[in-house]
């Protein structure tokens, strides 16, 4: 993901303008903003609201309703672990404990150096290859503690 960390009012405004013509444009706009900055900056909410002729409260209400929208910048690499039934049946609880221990993070936390963020997810549609996780956009199935450690090593190597 090519994330621009600095939030930029003009960029938010131009995203909102470019999608405003779509019926029900708010979600597409929020996705685009988050795709660019990695989160929805609080200062961006009045900008979007103004373009769409909505109140700030309405836009904020939508941002806070959906699990995907973040109000803080995420870690560089987001690791999501499926907690749903099929993965549980294949040892996801133990896998999640291993991952938490390995990263020294609980679900919903980001490491101090902001390299990793750990999130719980409820079904990735990979139930026939449980347990499943994602690291950034990449999906992995039949994940064991050993496989996770191998995958993690690739990213940790870049830790300075």
């Amino acid at each position: 993901m090519a994330i621009e960390p600095e939030w930029d009012k003009e960029a938010v405004r131009s995203i909102a303008f470019s999608l405003k013509h779509k019926p029900g444009a708010l979600l597409p706009i929020l996705h685009e903003v988050q795709g660019r900055f990695g989160y929805i900056p609080a200062e961006g909410i009045p900008v979007i609201a103004a373009v769409l002729n909505l109140s700030r409260a309405e836009v904020h209400g939508v941002v806070s309703f959906y699990h995907d929208f973040r109000s803080e910048p995420p870690g560089k690499h987001v690791i999501r672990v499926c907690r749903a039934e099929s993965c549980q049946a294949m040892g996801a609880v133990a896998l999640a404990s291993h991952i938490k221990r390995r990263l020294q993070l609980d679900f919903g936390q980001t490491s101090d150096d902001r390299l990793f963020a750990l999130e719980a997810v409820y079904c990735l549609g990979n139930c026939a290859c449980s347990p499943a996780i994602t690291i950034d956009e990449e999906l992995y199935g039949r994940v064991t503690a050993q496989r996770f450690d191998r995958l993690l090593a690739r990213f940790e190597g870049r830790r300075s």
């Binding site: 019926p23 979600l27 597409p28 699990h67 549980q88 079904c123 026939a128 449980s130 999906l139």
Partner: protein, 531 residues
């Protein structure tokens, strides 16, 4: 001669290394000067064999799997391009028992064709349904759908023909067709496989619906957890536009139909159709009161057909072969076929499309081969996170909407999750409450607050704090949620919870007679003691 190799691009197969296998095949082929032609397909749904690679032979396609990048060299050495023997050779793909015994109608092309190729789609019978529909009136299309007795595959099993008829007969200046591709139910992946394996069948089904009711705009509401599906869908939509199967003049019929994919944002409740419409309108995904039903007042207040993705993807074959053909599959009031998704602790997980009526036991043992761990099977959850847990002695239940309902369960979107004897059913019950609390849209108190209390109460039961009193409280809580919730999230969460308690009281620290006593106490006093 340039041989063809088929490698899946389905996200499940990719999660097991199919991408690496494709790269290795390309590299080794080039080094050997054989330059095979690699076609990326969907998955056949035999996930324990993924990544599964196929080659063309005079007898038909031959499969090898599960293949890793490290196996590629030996496959070339063995002459796999000619279907020769190798340790991973599985024989003719179509002869693999798991696949051979299926009745693939909706999934007919999945795993076989290049999902982005319109020519491949046409060569395998695609767009015959739409061509026929374009010669029919809206009412005739509705009749064909009604004749097939196709019921919605998203969970509620509502007859598609009735929904379409309502949308057809409601007059309005604009109408919409919306595909529910939110696939939030854990243990299910049929929508995903179709999008990644044969997205054009969905596009064709939605176009038929649009032609039927006179809608010019359609949306696919896709969950954000499916980025691969998004790419596959967009590629197929582009291909359809390019060749005039979508756009201002669908196949020269002078009918317009535009189709757009909209991505959700990680909310389970947005799979509920009215919450989904709110979300499409750019709002919080709050469930709407009904009436009006969406077929009368749906997206932006206009008549809207909302169907599950599998429902739409089944429409083309119904139009092509006729409602009567489709209806011949199945049993009782559940006609046609169901794409069953077998997952969890099972040796051979995958996609099994079969006529309704096949039993859970056949699916789990004949197809699935029993538990993956080799330990005894303890429980099976059918129908997603709101579905009941069934014990081993109920496995002879046929997969049929009415048969499951009769056992207090539901079939939902057709997902089956198997658990071995290491499962703690009280933990699963707590998880069901946790999930409800997390995903509740917040409109009804019993769902919003009841689920949070449910988590606490089960927590106390697990800690052995005033166990009987808390069990009675849990029962009461479930009753309140069941009857006081607007939609099935609050209304059906009691199903996994209560079925776990009923069938596995020991996990809640109760003997079966304790359970009866707690139930009697609750029935007598009408309310539970405070926990």
């Amino acid at each position: 001669m340039s041989e063809t190799i088929y490698v899946p691009q389905d996200s499940g197969a990719l999660s097991l290394g199919a991408g690496e296998v494709a790269r290795a095949l390309q590299a080794h082929g080039a080094r050997r000067g054989e330059m095979p032609h690699i076609i990326r397909t969907g998955s056949r749904g035999l996930y324990w064999l993924e990544p599964m690679v196929e080659v063309d032979t005079a007898q038909g396609r031959v499969a090898y799997g599960p293949v890793t990048g490290a196996d590629v060299e030996s496959l070339f050495e063995a002459g796999f391009l000619d279907g020769k023997d190798h340790r991973l050779r599985l024989g003719l793909t179509e002869a693999i028992a798991y696949l051979k015994k299926q009745e693939r109608l909706t999934f007919a092309r999945v795993g076989i064709t290049d999902p982005g190729s319109l020519d491949a789609y046409l060569a395998h019978g695609g767009y015959r349904g739409l061509k026929r529909a374009l010669e029919m009136t809206g009412a005739q299309i509705v009749d064909e759908i009604s004749l097939s007795e196709l019921r919605g595959r998203g969970g509620a099993a509502f007859p598609a023909g009735i929904k379409w008829k309502t949308a057809l007969e409601t007059s309005a200046d604009r109408k919409y067709v919306v595909c529910n591709a939110d696939e939030g139910d854990s243990g299910t992946f049929a929508d995903r496989m179709l999008m990644e394996g044969d997205p054009l069948v969905l596009i064709e089904g939605m176009t038929i619906a649009a032609v039927c009711i006179g809608a010019a705009q359609g949306y696919v509401y896709l969950r954000s957890e499916y980025p691969h599906s998004y790419r596959a869908l967009v590629r197929a939509i582009d291909a359809a536009y390019e060749r005039g199967y979508l756009g201002e003049d669908v196949l020269g019929s002078a009918k317009r139909f535009d189709l757009e994919v909209r991505v959700g944002a990680g909310s389970y409740i947005c799979g509920e159709e009215t919450a989904m419409l709110e979300s499409l309108e750019g709002k919080r995904g709050m469930v709407r009161y009904r009436p009006p039903v969406p077929a009368v007042e749906g997206l932006f207040g206009k008549p809207t057909i909302v169907n599950n993705l599998v429902t739409f993807a089944t429409v083309p074959i119904v139009l092509e072969k006729g409602g009567r053909f489709y209806k011949d599959y199945g049993m009782g009031r559940s006609r046609g076929t169901l794409p069953i998704q077998l997952a969890g602790n099972v040796k051979r997980p995958g996609l099994i499309e079969k006529g309704f009526g096949v039993t859970l036991r056949e699916i789990i043992y004949d197809y699935g081969g029993g538990t993956a761990s080799g330990r005894p099977l303890r429980a099976v959850q059918v129908g997603g996170p709101l579905g009941a847990y069934l014990p081993e002695n109920e496995l002879d239940t046929p997969l049929d909407y009415e048969a499951l309902a009769a056992r207090g369960g539901l079939l939902g979107h057709g997902g089956i999750v198997v658990f071995d004897d290491t499962v703690d059913m009280a933990e699963m019950a707590r998880y069901a409450m946790e999930f409800c609390a997390l995903e509740s849209c917040g409109k009804c108190t019993p769902c919003r607050i009841g689920s949070v209390r449910g988590v606490e109460v089960i927590g106390r039961i697990l800690k052995n704090v005033e166990r009987e009193a808390n069990i009675a409280l849990l029962e009461e809580l479930c009753e309140t949620m069941k009857f006081g919730s607007l939609c099935a999230l609050g209304g059906l969460t009691p199903l996994p919870v209560m079925s776990a308690l009923r069938h596995f009281p020991g996990d809640f620290g109760l003997s079966p007679s304790d359970l009866e006593a707690a139930q009697e106490q609750q029935a007598l006093t009408g309310r539970a003691p405070q926990g």
